[in-house]
């Protein structure tokens, strides 16, 4: 059965996560565009263990790791999320599926009033997807990456009360395999 599973970052999936995260095509879209080493990642895992406001997951589709998705600000009024697709295969509807997962997870916390993301202005795919789904652009922020590059980030914000049309549109454009996987979303402890 097609299902998505969210597996918390842990020592066992470190190799997979770092292989994805350190790939140039991923780093160039991140605010921290440095290469992350094992020691730094291990420290990060220790911080995550004690910080309930942050959650970082490997997304598995039918038991195969395909992406990472992460959330900060959990438990507060605004949750910020991000993701990157690690798989080099063309998995139809995966990115839209990640947006659906983000919405479902963020708004599963009772305090959440809005879900926010920042997208580098040169990152065409998520910009197009946000526009297509009707997730409003709410700002532009000039930031400096860890390597000193100046990058404009576009801020998107989805407010509770407006999520249904976005979810409906997203569900319409994904194939059955991803729709089923989203319906069978599991969270691994």
């Amino acid at each position: 059965m097609s299902c998505f599973k969210l597996v918390p970052f842990n020592p066992e999936n470190t190799e997979t996560v770092l292989a994805w995260r350190n790939a140039e095509r991923i780093r160039l879209n991140m605010l921290d565009d440095s290469t992350i080493g094992n020691e730094d990642h291990a420290s990060f895992l220790r911080v995550l263990d004690t910080d309930e406001s942050r959650a970082y997951f490997v997304v598995e589709l039918r038991d195969t790791p395909v992406a990472a998705i992460y959330f900060t600000g959990l438990g507060g009024k605004e949750v910020t999320w991000g993701c990157y697709i690690g798989s080099e295969k063309a998995i139809p509807g995966l990115f839209v599926g990640l947006v659906i997962i983000a919405i479902k997870y963020s708004f599963s916390f009772p305090a959440t009033e809005s879900m926010r993301s920042e997208v580098a202005s040169h990152n065409a795919n998520p910009i197009k997807l946000n526009r297509f789904l009707g997730i409003p652009e709410t700002g532009r922020i000039l930031r400096y990456t860890s390597s000193g590059r100046e990058v404009e980030f576009i801020e998107y914000r989805l407010v509770s009360g407006t999520i249904e049309p976005v979810l409906n549109k997203a569900t319409k454009v994904i194939p059955s395999s991803i729709r089923t996987a989203c319906e069978n979303l599991k969270l691994e402890n």
């Binding site: 798989s87 509807g93 839209v96």
Partner: protein, 83 residues
Amino acid sequence: MQVREVILELFDEALESTESSLQCEELTDDTVLLNSGLDSLGFAILVARLEEELGFDPFVEMEEAVYPTTFGEFVAIYENRAK
């Protein structure tokens, strides 16, 4: 219409609906899908449209999901299912 022809037609439709364009001279079996010009939204729309036209989503039916890297692999998945 042959499956390949349906895919090619809907591929063009997906490119147009997402304001994208082919990033190679022509689509061949060796074209890497992620470099074809069809972005992730377009690819989702393509497969959803193919499901409407052909009546099946091969990716939901697979016992073990095998995802394509090239256009040729993508077509083969649909052609094998259509047999």
